[in-house]
Symmetry: C2
Subunit: 380 residues, 2 copies
């Protein structure tokens, strides 16, 4: 067995067959998908998935540790996803809970082109958590969205993202809106002396997607928002990079993977490891305490670690907790997560009306006062 491998750990809940047999079935299903007797020995030797361990955890749960040859990922994060959870997604009660890759494979996958260092370099903020807001609702006059962006940036906010509902069918309308927002943020940043990062949402596919990315790059913006579970993780992994842009991964639709108790892929693997391997510079995940709270909210610390902790020589992705957080919650979140995180506050900030600027200034100041703190959720 060579040293270039993928180790996948699954939890089987109330296994529907003998756990050893189940482990062998999954290893074969995911690697070569053929009856064992029909696989020629040299191919089995080189490419068949193997069992590392089968462990009873309790009366209902078994842990299955499998090892696949790295070659099967074909150097693509999409095929990696396919390899570890393609057909097995139709098996009952099998959840992928951990994923470890050899150094060679880690080096072959994209990983963030910029990551936390790139975002800190762009914003000039090197020692505290970052405050992010979102431009919404869809249907607004672009000038109104630009005004919201300008007020946030002018008050010292760090990152403005488009709502993932903001999509134009006509590229001209997209250009008009993001040009307005970009100019507004630039003006505000020049006045405040603090460069706010604006991330427009790009959607669609083929040439339409690339025209949007082209325009974002032409405006000199730093990056974009993409929904990898809508446009495809594999597509997201290369689209922004081909235009020299950073990208933020929005978790829309990802709940189908993460939210079941005994099926799917655990949040730290999906919105942590896989999204980081795909090169997301920022990953939003729903933490606890907001309008949207993951069923597995206790995974927060592990998700942060998967995004920003050691992973071969890959740059760290910036963890961002979202899902309807309030300004009041933000400093406590920053304290818990440590400085290497972003907190997304949308509706609660928009709802401040005339008090928006002071709320931003106050929150950022409170982030500052906790920088370097001993974050209990910090992946450090």
């Amino acid at each position: 067995m060579d040293t270039d491998f993928i180790k996948a750990t699954y939890i089987a809940t109330r296994p529907d067959r003998d756990p050893e047999e189940l482990a062998e079935n999954i290893a074969r299903e995911q690697s070569l998908e053929l009856t064992r007797s029909l696989i020629p020995e040299p191919i089995a030797e080189r490419l068949l998935g193997r069992i590392l361990s089968v462990t009873e955890l309790d009366a209902q749960h078994w842990q299955l540790e499998l090892r696949y040859p790295a070659e099967l990922a074909s150097g693509q994060v999409g095929q990696l996803l396919h390899l570890v959870y393609g057909n097995v997604s139709f098996y009952p009660r099998i959840r992928l809970v951990d994923l470890a890759l050899s150094e060679t494979l880690l080096a072959a996958l994209p990983g963030p082109a910029a990551g936390i260092p790139g975002i800190r370099a762009w914003t000039g903020i090197d020692d505290r958590a970052l405050l992010m807001t979102v431009l919404k609702p869809r249907g607004s006059d672009p000038a109104d969205l630009a005004r919201l962006a300008e007020r946030f940036a002018g008050a010292g906010g760090d990152i403005v993202k488009d709502d993932q509902n903001l999509v134009e069918r006509e590229i001209g309308e997209f250009r008009k809106r993001i040009t307005l927002c970009s100019e507004a943020i630039d003006n505000a940043s020049q006045k405040s002396g603090h460069q706010c990062l604006y991330l427009p949402h790009v959607a669609g596919s083929g040439s339409h997607l690339h025209h949007q990315l082209d325009h974002v790059a032409q405006l000199g913006l730093g990056g974009v928002v993409m929904c990898p579970w809508v446009v495809g993780l594999e597509t997201a992994a290369t689209a922004a990079r081909e235009h020299g842009l950073m990208w933020l991964a929005h978790p829309a639709v990802a709940g189908v993977f993460t939210e079941a108790a005994d099926h799917g892929i655990a949040t730290p693997v999906l919105l942590g490891t896989l999204v980081r391997l795909a090169g997301a510079d920022i990953s939003i995940f729903p933490g606890s305490g907001g309008r949207i709270t993951s069923h597995h909210a206790s995974d927060e610390a592990a998700t942060c670690a998967a995004l920003a902790g050691p992973l071969g020589t890959l740059r760290p992705s910036l963890p961002c907790t979202g899902g309807g957080k309030t300004l009041e919650q933000a400093p406590e979140i920053a304290r818990q997560y440590g400085p290497d995180c972003a907190v997304l506050v949308g509706g609660d900030l928009i709802g401040r009306g005339e008090g928006l600027e002071s709320a931003v200034r106050d929150t950022v100041a409170r982030f500052g006062s906790v920088s370097g703190g001993t974050g209990t959720v910090s992946p450090g």
Copy 2:
């Protein structure tokens, strides 16, 4: 309210709040994602999702019928998926079970470029179910895969697809393999007088994906296999079409949507309606009785109807049942589904050894003898 709309029907199991409130929350979350009081009235009037009905089905289940303005799909099947199941994927126990679109929106989405008529025109088989096989395992010498393809095609098999594990990192290797297989199938088809359709698997993203599609088109092949839940439904919707190719949607990873009892998206909507809207000419879904059997196997008839039944002016997609079917099962499946289906037999066919040709001839003959039968699962 205008007439251009999307009607989404959800089942809420043990709703975590008052069902009327839950319906309002989902309608708002999915459309404008903002506190109601912060949405300006003209925008709410035009773009806010609305409740059509909230119905108690039994002590545990409520049916929520919502209506979204078609404008929110932005003419993209990816944004349609996002609209009907983006953030709500993180809500507990909400399953999308039905999706109906206005005629205007149906006309704006891709739909199959060829569909069943195109596949029948290619193969020259206009009155019976089609037999499909798969080239595997990965790691085989391309000449061995070509020989398997040639034997199947020479015996009168209808469609050969690549295994979705077949991926080359180097475009040259991809070209070499599919050229060999294509030539072998052409030779066999010329001898047998029956044109077998060869669908190579294309994977990856960006220019790498398009180089593969380019080469498939240059060889004069009819189409490709893509995994829309890996490369992205939105990406799949345009990639093959941009090269004038048909495409088969493989369901890898889709089990995260379909297999939960009370969460995700029902198979007829996901592997039926959505995949057809995205333009898949063939959709594979795991039916019952094979190695992989969906938890919701009783959805088979509805999935066939969603793929091949009336849907605006969209061409029908060919339903294909897979998941480890045997040759022995195939004629009975064709009888149940009616003539407008394909049956995928992989390992069982490869395992026939010297008897492969006679098994193919026999199965196709038995398909023929049931053509025009009164299929009980036929979407007619």
